[in-house]
């Protein structure tokens, strides 16, 4: 008999059951892909670095180890358990062009390497290992292809030191070491024969060869100290730093992860609401069953069986949907990485019983009330007479100019706040996430982060290849002169300006007996007053330095401590006088005073030229000058401070796509929650709607009443989310920037977007869905139904 009741129950409340089923599907999809995301993200970079066989420590040199210092260190240092070495050729962006001879845009130095000599594994866009490359073919980084709008099959020309070669692009290569936006170099992988052809050139052989060495060790610190003996090191750091370089990719993954968790919460909250609501709706049936002598256990079993059936079907569908959904969520993250976990399918499968369990638990808890109630209680829908509680809050007489529909909506919310708080929380969580993303993206696209990349200037000239080429032979004075000449050129064009540049050097340093290799930054034509320091006093002379909190943590040095720096010709004991934040080299930098005895022999890289106009032009004028300078240098890569920040952060565009994906998911959730709740309310209020119609209320007023409630709820959620978005952005995003070296972030808040546009979109969708649902559902309720309502 109970089976018959169950069958009718499923049929009679078809729409409600379908909506609950949809939520079970949604919850399973989010649980499965969310948990998968957690594991994938947590182990993401390690998984990738292991798969690529990157090792524990990486050393990059700009020479072919002619003095043998690298080889010597590797062989003598006991901490080195094993190593793999690859020979590379360095090139600049002017050495690479498309089939028409147009120079291709690449970030920093190009690295050419043979696939056969490669010590690590590279992967294609489908995450398959690249085993071999045909002669005359190449693979490049995905970001390089995207930036230059290149496609598979395109022709790429390399013209290096007189060697001209033409290649066919076979596709993108995922490069675990250099593929992240923070490492910044572009690696081109080619056939061994092609590589040999390049090496045959004497100039390339002598001047442009370098090495990349992957070291296996259990003692990274010992290897780092030993690297001090190796000459021409341009990069030397442990796996932790390489992992950190993927922080931007991980930001997106973490956001997806948090989103998944939030969506699980929303799905579960809504599910609990639906179950509780449905069971409370059925008190009368429960009362009748009790009255005719059916035991509590059997009644509970009936409802639990119903939800178990729904959950099994829903979880099954959700499991199938979770696989493509999870892949979609990770797709934007995995553009530059090989993400995944070997137990992904198992996790997806395990999430199915988890969701079924949660739903059965809710059903069990929600049906517990059945046990406590007498048949009459149940028939009276839980109102026994002793538990009367005043619900109404507003008085229509005091409602001022408020319309009846609006008044009824407001009164409903205030009378049953718990019911509406559930919806407000759900909407708020979703909207909040979109707003956090909006704040983060806006900050990344603004000049708010500029001081974490250097100093603020009017314009930044990205192409420093002229200086890089002369790096070996040039001197600090020579470069200073070159900067002054550039300034004179601009003055000649009617744009009086100062040309500045920030140079990074690699120097050995010692503190409390430990040796380190530091990236030291020194400005040319810059004063210490141009920089921003978070604590302490800016260095006043060459005996004083500023360090980042990351360096402080690494070395243990604090303000007032003395670090010995070996500048080559001179070794100076430098006192730490200040802390500063820097996202270059993930915060592991030292700032030197302009008088520090730096030498171009130890140069690591030259950051973009900075132009500061001396005649205080307006922002519009700066933009006009930017265009003129672009023409003058025949380069597109002249940027203002905001553009430069966006370029450095690199992931801003991905963040924008994630932001829109989040918005789309939010709107889908809002749509489903609104539809479910609205329908539930209307089912519950059928008698009230019928009576309103009977006494002469137009259908439009009834729809307005229903819509007003959801409108107010969406408005409250929007306002709450907008207000919370600022502190929540700081709480959620600052630690992520902190990993990159910046903790004092002044977020760019765009009030129009935060308080109007995005909450407005959520509000508009809510109102539209509420309107459509109310119009459809109330249309079928007639005034004459007052005779038929139970």
């Amino acid at each position: 008999m109970l089976f018959g009741v169950l069958k009718r129950e499923m049929k009679r409340k078809k729409t409600m059951n379908i909506i609950i089923l949809l939520f079970v599907v949604l919850a399973t999809m989010f649980v499965a892909s969310g948990v998968n995301n957690v594991i994938t993200v947590m182990n993401g970079t390690d998984y990738y670095l292991d798969k690529a066989n990157v090792g524990d420590y990486v050393i990059i040199t700009t020479s072919d180890d002619k003095d043998g210092s690298l080889q010597r260190m590797l062989e003598t240092e006991s901490a080195v358990k094993g190593y793999r070495m690859e020979r590379v050729i360095y090139a600049a962006h002017k050495n690479i062009s498309d089939k028409d001879g147009n120079e291709l845009d690449c970030k920093n130095t190009l690295i050419l390497q043979s696939i056969d000599e490669s010590a690590i594994n590279f992967f294609d866009k489908d995450n398959n290992k690249i085993e071999s490359i045909e002669k005359g073919h190449i693979y490049v980084a995905g970001s390089f292809m995207k930036k230059n709008d290149l496609n598979e099959g395109d022709v790429i020309r390399i013209n290096h030191s007189g060697v001209e070669m033409t290649f066919i692009l076979d596709g993108m290569a995922k490069d675990a070491l250099l593929g992240s936006d923070f490492m910044g170099n572009t690696r081109i992988i080619l056939n061994d024969e092609d590589m040999e052809q390049l090496r045959e050139n004497e100039m390339i052989y002598n001047e442009y060869q370098g090495r990349i060495c992957y070291v296996d060790t259990d003692d990274v610190r010992a290897v780092a100290t030993a690297v001090n003996q190796v000459s021409n090191v341009t990069f030397a750091d442990g796996r932790s730093l390489i992992k950190m370089c993927y922080v931007m990719e991980l930001i997106v993954a973490f956001i997806m992860l948090i989103l998944s968790v939030c969506l699980i919460i929303v799905a579960v909250v809504v599910l609990k609401f639906s179950i509780t609501f449905t069971i409370s709706e059925e008190f009368r049936e429960i009362g009748v069953m009790k009255a005719i002598g059916i035991t509590n256990r059997k009644i509970r079993r009936l409802y639990i069986t119903k939800y178990m059936l729904l959950s099994v079907i829903g979880a099954g569908i959700g499991f199938v949907g979770s696989i493509p959904f999870g892949n979609m969520l990770l797709k934007s993250v995995s553009e530059n990485m090989v993400l995944g976990n070997d137990s992904a399918l198992l996790i997806n499968i395990l999430s199915v019983p988890l969701v079924i369990g949660i739903i059965i638990l809710f059903a069990y808890l929600c049906t517990a009330k059945i046990k406590k109630m007498s048949p009459i209680d149940a028939i009276r829908s839980g109102q026994t007479g002793e538990r009367y509680k005043k619900k109404t809050v507003c008085r229509i007489g005091n409602s001022g100019r408020m319309g009846t529909a609006f008044f009824m909506g407001l009164n409903d919310i205030l009378s049953s706040p718990r019911r509406f708080v559930t919806i407000i929380i759900s909407f708020c969580i979703c909207t909040l996430f979109v707003l956090i993303m909006v704040n983060t993206t806006a900050t990344m696209k603004s000049d708010k982060l500029i001081y974490t990349f250097g100093t603020k200037s009017d314009l930044y000239v990205m192409d420093v290849s002229d200086a890089m080429e002369q790096m070996g032979s040039n001197t600090k004075e020579g470069m200073k002169q070159s900067l002054d000449e550039k300034a004179d050129e601009l003055a000649g064009l009617g744009m009086p300006a100062e040309f500045k540049a920030e140079i990074q050097y690699k120097y050995q340093a010692f503190f409390e007996g430990n040796g380190f290799t530091f990236t030291c930054q020194q400005g040319l034509n810059m004063q210490m007053s141009d920089y921003l320091f978070t604590e302490g006093v800016p260095p006043q002379n060459k005996y004083e330095i500023a360090i980042t909190p990351q360096i402080s943590e690494l070395t243990g040095a604090k303000i007032g401590d003395v670090i010995t720096i070996n500048f080559g010709e001179e070794t100076i004991e430098c006192m730490v006088t200040a802390y500063f934040e820097n996202m270059n080299s993930l915060g592991k930098t030292v700032r030197l005073h302009e008088d520090a005895p730096t030498d171009f022999k130890y140069i690591s890289t030259i950051l973009p030229y900075q132009i500061d106009f001396t005649d205080n032009p307006s922002e519009e004028e700066v933009e006009l000058r930017k265009e003129r300078i672009k023409e003058f240098y025949d380069s597109e890569e002249i940027m203002n401070a905001a553009e430069y920040c966006e370029y450095c952060v690199a992931v801003a565009d991905t963040m924008v796509s994630v932001q829109f994906l989040l918005l789309a998911i939010t709107l889908i959730v809002v749509l489903m929650v609104t539809m479910l709740m609205e329908r539930t309310f209307i089912t519950n209020e059928k008698s009230q709607i019928a009576i309103l119609k009977a006494i002469g209320f137009k259908n439009s007023v009834i729809i307005k009443w229903q819509v007003c409630r959801f409108g107010m709820v969406a408005l409250a959620a929007g306002i709450l989310a907008a207000c919370l978005s600022i502190p929540m952005t700081e709480i959620c995003i600052t630690p992520i920037f902190g990993m990159m070296g910046a903790t004092n972030i002044d977020y760019k808040i765009e009030p129009l977007n935060i308080f109007l546009l995005y909450p407005g979109i959520v509000f508009a969708v809510t109102v539209a869905v509420a309107w459509i649902t109310a119009a459809i559902c109330t249309r079928t309720i007639k005034s004459s139904d007052t005779a038929n309502i139970e």
Binding site: K391, R395, G397, F407, Q688, G696, K698, I789
Partner: protein, 254 residues
């Protein structure tokens, strides 16, 4: 006296599972202004359908319903809603009210929605209170609907039906869910309202209730089988009037 409600050849047919069910078959009657008419008949005879169709809550299949000289069968949903809001009052067996409003707010709700007068909200509220006072339920004005008895709630429904000063009041078994005492109280109020000039059409199963009306129509299988007009004799006791009506009903097969 002019006919406030004129029903001509009214038919109502429901089609359920391709089966045609003629609930009302060429019903004709008139209700004059100030009358109090009871519609009686066995279950399923079409009493409530007749009430809902003549009040514009349900659509007639054919025929004409003229209210106050206006044919309402051709009116659209919004025009009918306005007519019901401003000119008609309704009382049902189940005392449906808005769950989240107080008794007083439920009563004044139709007045707030109506644009019949340009009275202020305060004046409308005062009118609601006055009606409650008249019906003896002013003490429950600020109560929630689950804080009052069935009799009080039905009297509140009468107040609500009267708030817009309707020309006619339709009542579908207004005492059906009440005990005898509450039923008497409600009927007394309806009689008082009728005496004050409100036209009332009421569906009832209760001869005791119908006996208070100025006319009784007996409907069987969608046809008015007979009409009973009590003899106007002030010397007759209520019980006598009931007995006479019962006799008439029994003659018709009640």
């Amino acid at each position: 006296m002019a006919a406030l409600l004129e029903v001509k050849d009214l038919c109502k047919t429901y089609v359920i599972n391709k089966r045609q069910n003629n609930v009302l078959k060429n019903v004709n009657f008139e209700v004059e202004d100030g009358e109090m008419v009871a519609i009686m008949g066995p279950s399923g005879s079409g009493k409530s359908t007749l009430l809902y169709t003549v009040s514009g809550m349900d659509e007639a299949t054919s025929g004409q319903v003229c209210f106050d000289g206006q044919d309402i069968t051709g009116l659209g949903a919004n025009e009918l809603a306005k007519l019901r809001l401003d000119e008609m009052g309704f009382i049902f067996q189940q005392m449906y009210m808005m769950k989240n409003l107080t008794i007083l707010d439920n009563i004044v709700l139709p007045a707030m929605e109506s644009k019949k007068t340009d009275e202020s909200k305060k004046a409308k509220t005062l009118r609601g209170e006055e009606l409650m006072r008249k019906l003896g339920i002013i003490e429950v004005a600020d109560n929630d609907i689950n804080e009052v008895s069935g009799g009080q709630l039905q009297r509140a429904c009468i107040c609500r039906s009267m708030i817009n000063k309707p020309k006619i009041l339709f009542a579908d078994e207004p005492t059906g869910a009440l005990n005898r005492t509450a039923s008497n109280e409600v009927m007394d109020e309806l009689v008082k309202l009728n005496e004050e000039g409100t036209t009332i059409i009421m569906v009832t199963h209760d001869a005791k209730v119908a006996a208070k009306c100025s006319r009784v129509m007996y409907i069987v299988d969608g046809n008015i089988k007979g009409e009973y007009v009590p003899i106007k004799d002030d010397s007759l006791q209520e019980k006598d009037r009931e007995r006479q009506l019962n006799n008439w009903l029994m003659d018709l097969g009640w």
